[in-house]
Symmetry: C2
Subunit: 385 residues, 2 copies
């Protein structure tokens, strides 16, 4: 149930000294026969050196390997930092006999500090030695930062499969955020189909997570296709399977978000458009007041409404007096005013469902977020990332 | 040093039972000779009943009185709630012999519950009895919610003066947020000048506060001009004095923001436009990660840069590699990369200054925010507002 579940992949996770006594370097190798690949990277204008390199590497739709490290983001490190990312790709390429331009690089950790390249060099050596078709779990552990557990998933179809790993515990935000994801498949996929399907799947899964509204400089989602099953699925079949995989990983990410005590699912129904639904859900997911209320098990629908009202009319047309809000199945607000008693709402469980009916169209959008807790403040005031 | 400092005003603050044993109803009366008035209200599409009423009342540029209550926002209360706001204005108008359309109403507190109109009726009666040219301080106390202290200010010029009171401790955000402000002056001011000057002063003071990014349904800033000094200042002179007053109150608001341990001043220099500078400062002020880092006294400039990078190019043109960031006078980031050591930054005091040089133009914008603390989570998870 990891990136090495599909045929044609080997992986490893090792401890090279970027962190103290912890796995911190991962390598994933696609042994083919196909090397089709696609990537979606952060939309932050300030992006890390490995993102700059990886965008170039994946332009031709092919990758042989991905090197990933925790213990340092290699972001805001200037031309020297970029040279470090390039050097990492060259080291891997030479060790596995590939072209450097077929090696993607991903980093996560503190912004603004150079990577310890001695550690990286030793990490490449150790990881190449350790590469194995059973190495997916170790690789998933090596990319963790404040994650409390590795995230892996797999989806199996007749004769072919998909595997994945992800890390990211804070800074989960729109357009991605300190999220590193590697997805693998042994299906035979054309580069154009890979790129298009990945973009779509990311849009409806990872881009619908909004943990703390912060967007990272390093986010990268990679899809590697080995073709080792010899099977070419229908594009739609592949799309459905990839979305299933991405949703599984996205749920694991939000469930392990920094310091969260509640997982909040915000669903907007009867929106005038997808964009309108997402904008309304996003505004609600960004309300620190609401998120603190959920932590306090307070079904404070007033904070839902005051967030909804910040979305401009042109983006999300609706009538304030039409809006219904249900929290965990109790319609606490109907037609923009109080309805059923707040006291009926049970928020003792981890899952909180906020359902917003805009009565303005036919579209439906769902976003995942979490509450704002003491532990969030602790982790992010004490941990320099 | 309050709203009753300028001549021509009486005020009162009383306890009418909306809250337990606390001042909760305030009345401000302009005895003229002029009743010039202007207002700026929330830009939230979901606005409270008193906001709806006050917008109508001030349309003609005249107000005789303002009734303000804490202990209930009268927002999301439907037509019944609107009738309550109208009834409040009528009660005051009849007690002071004025037209109801010359009485503004402001409310703050929990969203979604009807006001106790029995309490309001008794509040109007008590407040009219208590009206006094020394009542400004009591009025300022009566509008407090989670504020830990009343906020009042005054500005004196030769022969005329300005006074003000404000409340608002959370939900301070762009375009205002659970912020109620009443400004008074005994200068003679034309309605058009009052409206224009107020709009401008609010833009550069209250709209440059961003405590927690949440926007309220009830924000209202009112300016009442009695003309009792007989002096008509130059428009520019009035503008400067009004801005001085608004800045004073804005600083008091952010300094008392819910649970804050640090006041953060974000200044963006060499921006291509005011809008660009404000957008960059706003993005930084919205980063929970940065705000938690400041609480932890961590000069985490990487979180400043990753926030800056989320502002779209069309809104704020700049080159990521040009950006300098100084924290409390130490240039920790130069040209988009690490510069002076983080260790040199002293964050032990309450004031934190973040200076961002975009090197993209000639404009400068400043925004005030605060850090994200355990106390913020406590207040907003325990207090239903």
């Amino acid at each position: 149930m990891s990136i090495t579940q599909p045929k044609g992949f080997r992986a490893a996770g090792v401890a090279c000294g970027l962190k103290d006594n912890a796995l911190d370097f991962a390598l994933v190798v696609n042994d083919g026969p196909s090397t089709t690949a696609a990537a979606v990277t952060t939309s932050n204008r300030i992006y890390a050196a490995p993102v700059r390199w990886t965008r170039e590497a994946v332009v031709d739709g092919n990758l042989r390997a991905v090197a990933l490290n925790s213990g340092g983001a290699n972001a805001c490190t200037g031309e020297e930092g970029y040279a470090d990312a390039v050097a990492t790709a060259h080291l891997v390429a030479s060790a596995i006999t590939a072209a450097p331009a077929d090696v993607a690089v991903c980093s996560t950790g503190l912004i603004g500090e150079r990577l310890n390249m001695r550690a990286i060099r030793s990490g490449v050596g150790m990881a190449v030695e350790a590469l194995s078709p059973e190495g997916g779990e170790e690789a998933a552990r090596a990319i963790m930062t404040t994650d409390t557990r590795p995230k892996t998933a797999a989806v199996t179809r007749k004769g072919w499969s998909l595997g994945g790993m992800a890390k990211g515990a804070g800074m989960l935000a729109p357009q991605l955020a300190t999220m590193l994801v590697v997805l693998t498949t042994d299906a035979r996929i054309e580069p154009e189909i890979a790129a298009e399907t990945l973009r779509e799947a990311v849009e409806f899964s990872f881009n619908r997570l909004d943990s703390d509204g912060c967007m990272s400089t390093n986010d990268t989602v990679l899809l590697l296709c080995s073709g080792a099953s010899g099977i070419t699925p229908e594009p739609h079949e592949f799309e459905v399977a990839l979305e299933e995989l991405c949703h599984d990983l996205a749920r694991q990410l939000i469930a392990d978000a920094e310091g969260a005590a509640h997982d909040i699912t915000i669903t907007v129904t009867h929106a005038a458009s997808q964009a309108a639904g997402v904008a309304v859900a996003r505004a609600v997911s960004r309300s620190n007041l609401l998120k603190a209320a959920v932590f306090g098990k307070d079904p404070n629908w007033g904070r839902v409404l005051s967030s909804i009202g910040t979305v401009p009319q042109w983006l999300a047309p609706f009538q304030p007096d039409d809006v219904d809000v249900s929290i965990n199945g109790v319609m606490v607000c109907k037609g923009g005013a109080a309805h059923e008693s707040r006291d009926k709402v049970d928020m003792s469980g981890r899952e909180v469902e906020i359902l917003i009916d805009l009565k303005a169209g036919e579209e439906k959008a769902t976003l995942l977020t979490n509450d704002l807790t003491y532990d969030y403040v602790t982790e992010n005031s004490a941990y320099s990332s």
